[in-house]
Point group: C2
Chain length 333, copies 2
C-alpha cells in the first residue's frame, strides 16, 4: 500500500465566483430560485452579469472551496478540476495553489472559457447561484491519475460533477482508484435541484458503496427521498449510507451511521453576511477531523467552526487561518 | 451656463484591486513600505502575484472608489479613466456602471493590459499597495470632454494622475474646463510618496488656484510641507489652499479654510478589517455634502460614515447603500 501524501483530495468544477449584493426582487425579476444553483448558458450569463450590481471576483467551486478549507486547517490537500488558460483560469490556479493545495490538472487551451458562478447575495445573507460551466465541462477521465488518488486518505467528490458530460466518468474512475488503494470516498449531494436531476444515480452510489461518506444539507436530503419529513429521511439515510453528515444551518448538524445519530450544534456567529461556502467549509472541517481520526463530535466542531468563519464575510473561502482559529477555540484534531 | 448633470465627476487611474491577507513579514521580505502605494512594472507585478496568498479581485482606483461612493449616496456621478478592452477592463467597466456611474472613456484596444493594484492587508487592517499602471498610462487629454466636465458641479482629481505620462495634461485640461464653466475643482494628494514625487507641482496647483478643494491625510500633509509638526503644516495649508480637509484616521478630520479649522470626529466602528478605500470613501461623503450645500460639520459626518462602512470589510467600495446608511443614521444633506 502506497503511503498517504494527501489527507483529502477533492474533485469538482473549477469555478470563479462573481458576487454581488442584491435585493429580493432581482431574483424574482430574473426568475431565480432563491438559495439554489442553476446551470446557465453563455447568453444567460451575459444577461445576468449585465443586470447585476457591482461584483467581487473570488475563486470558488464547491469541492475547491472545501479543499482550500482543508489546507487552511494545515492538512495536506489536493484538487482536480478544469479551467481554461485564460485570465480567470489563471486566477483560479493562483488562488488554490497560494492556499497550499496541490493543483496539477492541465488547463484547456481551447474551447469555452473558465467557469463562472454569478452569486446573488440577498440582505438575509442567503446566496442564489447561476453557473456557467464553461471549461469545467472538459474534465475528463484522463485528468484522473489513479496513483495520485491512491495517495489520498479521502477522495472528496461533488454531486455537481454529474452535470458536465465526461466528469461523471472521471468521478467513477476516481472512486474506483481510491477503493483499489484501500482509501475512502466522500460525496456531497451539492444542491437540492442537483439531487433532483440525479436522484437514482446518487442513491445507487450510496447503496453500492461507491461512496463511503455522504454530506448533505436538509434540503438535499429531503429532495433525495422526496419527503418533507426530516426524521423519515434520516431513517432512510441510515439504511442507504454507511456514514452521513446532514447540516441544518443554525441548528448545527447530525452525524448519521447505521447505529447512531449524533447531533452537533452550530458555532455562534456575530453577523451572518453571506452563506456562500457554508456547506463547503463545513465539509472541510469534518474531513479534517476524519483524516485525523477524531470522534464524530470533534469532527462536527471543526466543521461548525469553519462554516462560521466563511458566513461572516463575502466569499466562499476562509479569510483567516482555520488552523489558528481552531487553536484559538481550543480545538485539536 | 450649462445646467449641472453630475454632482461629482472623477478622473483617475482605472484599476482592479487584487487583494490578499498577509503577515507583516511578507512586506519586509518583499521590501514594501507599509501603508503606502508603490508603482511597479510588469515583472515585479508577476513576482508579487506569484508570492501572494489567495486573492479577491475587486474594482478599485482611488478616484473611481470615491465616485462609486458618491453614486451610492444617491448623487449623480461620472468617471473618466482608461482600461484596456480585456477581462479586467470589462470587470472595471461593469462594476462602475453597475454602481450607477456614467463611464464613457473609450477602452484601449492595444498596449498594456488593464491596471492592477496588488493590495496586501496586514492583521492590523492596514493596506500596502503595489500598482501596475498598465492601460491607465494611456489616459490622454483627448479623453477629456470639456462639455462633460462643464456639466459637473465638482471635478475631482487624484494626485496619482501625476504618475502616468499624459494624464497630467488631461488633469490640467479638465481643471481648466471646470473653471471655464464656473465649476469647482477638487484634488486628493493621494499618498505621501506621491506628494514627495510632485511636491512643488501640487503646491503650485493649490497656490495658483488650479484646485479649489484639497483632500489630504496627515501623512500626505506632513510630506507636502516636509515637517513632522501637524499644527505647523495646518498653518501653512491655510495659506496655500482655499479649502482643505485633512483626515486623521480614528481621530476624524479637520476642515480648514483661511479663517477656520473645524474638527469632525470619526464614526465609531465594530471592527477594523481593511483600511483600503478609507480616504476615498471619506472624500465621497464630503463631496456629496459639498454638492448639496451642507455645512462643514455635516459634510464631515457624511465623510466619516462612508469611511466607516468601507473599512469594516475587505475591498475599497461600499457593500451597502450609503444613502440608506445615511438615512438610518439620521443624516440628511
Amino acid at each position: 500500500m502506497t503511503s498517504v501524501q494527501y489527507d483529502v483530495l477533492g474533485i469538482g468544477n473549477a469555478i470563479v465566483d462573481v458576487i454581488a449584493q442584491t435585493e429580493e426582487d432581482f431574483l424574482v425579476k430574473h426568475r431565480m430560485q432563491k438559495g439554489t444553483m442553476a446551470l446557465i448558458d453563455e447568453a444567460r450569463a451575459a444577461q445576468i452579469y449585465a443586470a447585476m450590481g457591482p461584483t467581487i471576483e473570488s475563486s470558488g467551486g464547491s469541492a475547491a472551496n472545501t479543499i482550500v478549507g482543508v489546507a487552511s486547517f494545515g492538512a495536506r490537500a489536493a484538487f482536480v478540476g478544469k479551467v481554461k488558460k485564460d485570465t480567470l483560469g489563471d486566477v483560479f490556479a493562483h488562488d488554490i495553489r497560494a492556499a497550499g493545495v496541490a493543483f496539477e490538472t492541465r488547463p484547456a487551451t481551447d474551447g469555452p472559457s473558465t467557469a463562472r458562478c454569478y452569486v446573488l447575495i440577498t440582505p438575509d445573507g442567503e446566496r442564489t447561484m447561476n453557473t456557467y460551466l464553461g471549461a469545467a465541462q472538459n474534465l475528463h477521465p484522463r485528468d484522473i491519475d489513479p496513483n495520485m488518488i491512491g495517495r489520498a486518505a479521502i477522495t472528496y467528490l461533488e454531486g455537481y460533477l454529474w452535470d458536465p458530460r465526461d466528469a461523471k466518468d472521471a468521478f467513477v474512475k476516481a472512486a474506483k482508484a481510491a477503493h483499489d488503494a484501500g482509501r475512502k470516498v466522500a460525496l456531497t449531494l451539492s444542491d437540492a435541484f442537483c439531487v433532483d436531476r440525479y436522484r437514482a444515480e446518487f442513491l445507487d452510489l450510496m447503496r453500492k458503496g461507491t461512496v463511503d461518506i455522504v454530506f448533505a444539507n436538509e434540503g438535499e436530503l429531503k429532495s433525495l427521498y422526496e419527503t418533507a419529513d426530516f426524521h423519515a429521511a434520516i431513517g432512510q439515510l441510515r439504511n442507504d449510507a454507511r456514514f452521513a453528515v446532514v447540516t441544518r444551518s443554525e441548528q448545527g448538524c447530525v452525524v448519521v451511521t447505521a447505529g447512531s445519530v449524533t447531533p452537533v450544534p452550530a458555532f455562534p456567529i456575530d453577523r451572518l453576511v453571506d452563506t456562500t461556502g457554508a456547506g463547503d467549509l463545513f465539509a472541510a472541517g469534518f474531513l479534517v477531523g476524519l483524516a485525523h481520526g477524531s470522534d464524530h463530535t470533534t469532527c462536527g466542531k471543526f466543521a461548525a467552526l469553519a462554516a462560521a468563519e466563511v458566513i461572516q464575510h463575502v466569499g466562499a473561502r476562509p479569510q483567516q487561518s482555520l488552523k489558528a482559529l481552531a487553536t484559538a477555540n481550543g480545538l485539536r484534531a
